[in-house]
């Protein structure tokens, strides 16, 4: 297993949006899904997950409703709203451009300057 990375500031929201875009999830499920698709390379503070969920719901990117979990308990499921979909697309594009630029800068060699 690779060493776990700390989450970059401001990226948790994006990851949550991505996670619930693949299908409705409860909070614990979001946590698992992110760990699963990052192949456990990201460390997510559980304490910061819920405030982030509430913030995203408050902003209207995700919506929630109560349902039944795999272990037959009542759980709150989050899903992406239409506004959330647009938001995720925009964030993804932003992130990719930013990553390109940063990678370009960091990859610069002395003779290229």
């Amino acid at each position: 297993m690779d060493k776990q990375l700390d989450l970059l500031q401001g990226t948790l929201d994006m990851l949550i949006l991505k996670a619930v875009s693949l299908g409705p999830l409860h909070g614990y499920g979001v946590l698992l899904r992110i760990q699963q698709i990052s192949r456990d390379r990201l460390e997510i503070q559980q304490g910061s997950l819920y405030p982030a969920l509430y913030r995203l719901e408050h902003q209207g990117w995700i919506a929630s409703e109560w349902g039944e979990s795999e272990n037959k308990r009542k759980a709150k499921y989050y899903r992406l709203t239409t506004a959330g979909k647009r938001r995720l697309l925009a964030e993804t594009e932003n992130w990719n451009r930013m990553a390109d630029v940063i990678a370009g800068i960091l990859g610069t060699k002395r003779e290229e300057v």
């Binding site: 614990y28 559980q46 819920y50 209207g60 009542k74 759980a75």
Partner: protein, 885 residues
Amino acid sequence: MTLWSRARSWVHALFQRSRMERDMDAELRFHMETMTEELLRQGLPHEEALRRARVEFGGIERVKQEGREVRGVNIVDELLQDVRYGQRVLRKSPGFAIVAVLTLALGIGANTAIFSVVNAVLLRPLAVENPARLTYIQEKWQDMFPGFSVGNFTDVRRQSSSFAEVCASHNGGFNLETKDVPERVDGEYVTANYFATFGVQPIAGRVFTSDEDQSGHSRVALVSEKLWRTRLRGDSSIINRQIRISGVPTTIVGVMPKSFDPLLSDTDLWIPAAFSPAELADYDNHYLTVMGRLKPGVTLAQAQSELNVIGERLAVEHPIDDKDRSFRVQSLTTALLGDQRLSLRMMLAAVGFLLLIVSANIANLQLARARTREKEIAVRAALGATPSRIVRQLLAENVVLGLAGGAVGVLFAYWAVAWIVAHGPAEMPRLDQSRIDATTLIFAVGVALFSSFMFGLAPAMRSGSAKLNEILKSAAGTGAGTRDRFRSFLVVAEVALALVLMACAGLLIRSALFVSHVDPGFDTSNVVVGRVGLAGPDYHDPLVGRQTFERIVAAAAALPGVESAAVVSRAPMAGLGSSNGLLAEGVPFDPSKLIDARLQIVSPSYLSTARLQLKIGRDFTAQDTRDRTLVTIINETLARAMWPGQNPIGKRFACCESGPKGRLDPVWHEVVGVVGDVRAWGLDHDVKPEFYVPFAQMPPTAWDWIGRTMDLEVRSRGGAAPVRDLQSIVASIAPAVPIYHLSTMQAKISGTLERSHFDTYLLALFAGSALLLSSIGIYGVLSYMVAQRTRDIGIRIALGASSTRIVSDVLSFGMSLAGIGLVLGVAGALVATRLFASMLYGVRSTDVITFLAVSFILLAVAFLASFFPARRATRVDPIVALRYE
């Protein structure tokens, strides 16, 4: 972020707080339990699994708190906290809270009550379709605005293109014979398109057809809902049935809704005008009320310029009647309610001032409290409260105060509106519709919030920006800083506003005193007056009418306790009446040379019954009949206008009718007497030219000018007014004819003064409150100043300052505040009083005596308000004062 989701979560935060908390608990518990299960499955023992789950999750309370924060719960929470805190603080200083709430209630209540009246009288649109398009058209002649002649009305209606509809009406009284006692009903003769002009449909039946508006058609009528319910028992089978109105069988064709009162005149009956061919050709009698509905897109100015053109054309076509005559068009709302605007706006301004004074007073109290609360606030700031939070907190406290004051104020306004409706002037239209409703409640809440910010913001801002360490370091205050300068400024403003109100009230009071000393021109004691209208075919003949009145007069004069009786076409204070253009003998005919004078048709006993002062000449006698020389008695104003500086006895003027040779063949009336002026329109109205003509010599057409209606005037020898006897005399001599508006002359005179007395009373009340409040302001600032400077004063006394010296220092500070306020107030009052100069009688708006009097009262009260704190200053014990350190 969508606005909707944010609003939704705030609403949840506010109203579904507990559900949100439950949800959050359930969700987090689910998380912990699922995680624990997972760990158990990995083989950890139960205790260890629980512990690990908790450690990995971190602080649950912190998560919840952050969750609440992002959902905006905190803002709501803090607000509620602030409000609760405000309540607690106010409960702890009940004295301050009670004073503040009561003065606020006074300010807000007065504002709400006056606004309710303004809303009912001025702001509510007339109950007609699209009232903004309705206009009121008048003729204009010699600075007067008489009604239309039928001829002019017909021509204007035909020739103008600015109006979708032009209609006309003239009022008439009708005797309704549906019960045992005949009743007088106010009605209007209207053209058939009257209802279409206003765009109002009857609630039952139909409006008039144009056929019914032709002369000779059998009589039809529309009745008001009120009349229909009270006199016709709300019976819908009344439609198309006949009842007798003023002796004429009349078919009721419809019922108009209660709200339909386009002229605000309590009309109960509408009858087609059905002008006869003679009336249609008449350009000489000006009595029609004319209304027009503007076509879409046409402005008042366009309509006016079109009417100007028509007016010029008519002046050429009818040189005798329409020379120098033009038309004026204005919006119907202005025409009907324009007179009410000035005094109601004045009231609104007055209560607005009162509210400002109240706010300034409470701001002052708050500033004084802020000073003593500085430490408390500094501690809060030291504990981490941000300045904005502190400002919010103090504002919340003020909003609590404001709303409490508003609640009490609305109760007060309920009572005040009931009082105003009961005691307000009857002549003010729609006053009875004033009430506290949703609109006025919204207004009250608005005023409450506005005043909360007015009196709360300044103290709160100061506290919010106060420098922590300075306050915590400072000992019991000594100096007077900028804050006291601000408080002084507030007091000066209060005094200035109070003086403006006092000056206005003072002028009205002086005006009312003037009016009460005006000589009405006749003896008003022991006189009873009532109107009798001999309508109907029985009295069509002027001779029958005159003989009927003569019998009534004779019977009334024979009553025990009655000294004499008479009839007159319009008794003083009865308003209206008809006027004629008079031409003195020897003056060539020219319409601009005519002198407009009010015609009074009287029985020979009138002058002696009313006790008019006969200045020169003789009274009428029973021998002044139509076959003798036509005689007249004129009032002094007419004598001055027509024959300035000459003896008018024996001189003649032409009026009222034409001789056998046509329109310009004069019929002369010889002046046989001159009587003193009578204040016929009210004590506060100027006297107009008047002339008296004996009943037996009246021109036959005059019988219709006066609507076959006369005032019966009876002078008794004292004792109770013989009201019942007069009713039975009229009932026995003229069956089915009521006597109405029956009351004493003195009651009628006070009726005409009702309005100005009401205005005066209210304004005096407001001015008195303003004076009281601003003196409380002065007292508050000085007492506080003395308390703050106890140590300084103690030192001065210890160093030998005399108590006179100390008193005069405090006094002079108080008086200088009052003095500056006074000067500013006088300047403001000079502007303000000019605006309502037209409401004054006998007093100029810059009346020196009034200004001196109110200034003196204000300074005297300010002196008293300063004296008590000053005296307290001399009682400072230097030893106690110095030990304060």
